[in-house]
Amino acid sequence: MKKKSAFRKLFGSREFLLAVIVVLMFAIVSAVNPAFFSFKSVTDMMKNNAVTMVMALGMLCVMLVGGIDISIMSTLALSGMSIGMLLKYEHIHNTLLAFVIAMAIGTLCGFLVGLVISRADVPPIIATMGFMYIYRAMGYLVSHGGEWAGASALGTFKNFATTKILGLSCVIWVIIVCYVIFFFFMKWTRTGRKIYAVGSNAEAAEVSGINVRNIKLMVFTVMGFLAGLGGALQVSVYASAMPDMQQGGEMDVIAACVIGGVSMSGGRGTVIGTLFGAFIMAMIPKALPLLRIDALWQNTIKGVLILVVVLVNVILQRVADRNALKGREM
């Protein structure tokens, strides 16, 4: 087999295509409205979509093993609401402690989901649908039936989102750290490669000595951990905690992964692709008002974009397959 040159590999890759799309979108929007092309607008965009961007990483892992998790936004609401209430009733004051509690709750939630999926063989969509109801309801119960924790109740916690380190908001540093850790984790650690192995062929992975059940358990636990982190970020960025926050937001996270080229049947997808996918999802609500398109069109455009991306992907794949066949005939 011919070895592709590094140059061709770069241009042929899906990540490159996505990067081109992102740059094109940037260029077009900036050309129409120069206000878009500024450091502040980009960092604002990232800050407002921090939750989706961080949680897309967990969804990447889940989708790599061929699963799906639609309970994440309920986990987010439960963990975010818990720290919101703890801060409101002044049980805790420390920002770091609040983050740790939120992440601990999230991890526990994810661990439970993982146990049900990996040990009781419940299909991921059904199990996470059940937990979506359960955790959302628990969020309501924690909030004493729908109480809010507003900005005044959150004390110094909400300052986390406004504090800047080296010119960048703490929230953006969290995103960067997460992406860097995951990039190395998925590419160069043994566990990261095992996730890909399980996703490509679970039975082959089992035979070659990988404990598939434990990998699945781990993946959903990681997802829960990131959902807990997302809960803390959500509360600090929007300076409020309410039990119905981010309802339906799990579809945005899944869409970010799908646009980023993560395959739903597992085994395919990269951290870089996910980053670009999340970026495209973040750009749509920010760019539309600047292009003077009514905000009402936002969801339709988002949906059409997802559909177009997956359809183009299939068509490109078909063309590639046909070309490969042609090569064999000759």
């Binding site: 059904i126 309801a137 455009i301 997956v310």
Partner: protein, 333 residues
Amino acid sequence: MAGKSGRTISNKPESPIKKIIFSWEGILILVLIGVNIFCKWFSEYYNMFNLLRQMPVYLAEVFLMMPMAFILVMGEIDISVGSIACLSATMACIVCNTGAPFIVVILTALAVGTLCGVINATILTNFTELPPMIVTLSTQIIFRGIAEIVLGSGGSISAANTAGFKALGTKVGKVPIILFLVAILAVIFAIILGKSTFGRRVYAIGTNRLTAHYSGIHVQKIRFIIYTVMGLMAGLCALFLVSTSYGANTTTGTGFEMDAIAMAVFGGISSTGGKGNLAGGIISAFIIVCLRVGLGQRNVHAQVILLILGVLLIAAVALPNLIGQLRRAVKKQ
């Protein structure tokens, strides 16, 4: 998940009575009786009259459950139905407000639903590589997005001429029309799924798609029909939604797809395909309706009811699997 279906072949013929009691449907009927006893004890207002009066609000979702059962038996999923219901309800209200006769309103709702179903079906049958989850995820966003555009900045519309919708919500004697319709459709759908050639083909597709294809079943044609019917039923559901609220807004039908899937799965229809029947789905639908009416009468928060639903759903799938694993472990020793 793969290769652990846990099916065993037993040579001993089972007695039919034992088979009925120990089947999933038998357990569900016991649960239904248990839920009714519990609701009677829990709420003093829980009786046949009030049950029939408060039922229609929750029954609209049962329309979605029936075609969803077909889709789940095929091993697929459709999460766009809630949005289809939203779009058809919106269109029905708009047509109703132009003063058109009520039959036109009904036809609009059904036509819009069917059209959305056809769109789903066309994409899914032409691009078979795509998982239905992704396609219906994007159409879910698109259909609700169109409803948002149509509704404009207010985000809601109310039907000015409610006479027709009131007629839909009336009762024959003490039984609401919707219950009759659910019963008739349930029988039709159950017969098609359980007894007809079409239904057996759906099971064949769900068990092994490739084998079904090679044994001469038009897999794509059947998928097309089922997704179209799914849209049609979402339109019907929308009509009854409007008949209870006399209007539509951007959140109409949110989460209905999940409720419909939950009903079907709780009724023993496996989401991995090829297993379950509609009787179980119908019984579980009534368990959920009774539970909602009973708990709702004492002002139990809707979220608590969802909590119970979530636990039931996971238990319904996890327990049989765990029992099967335990049995195998015992047998090995």
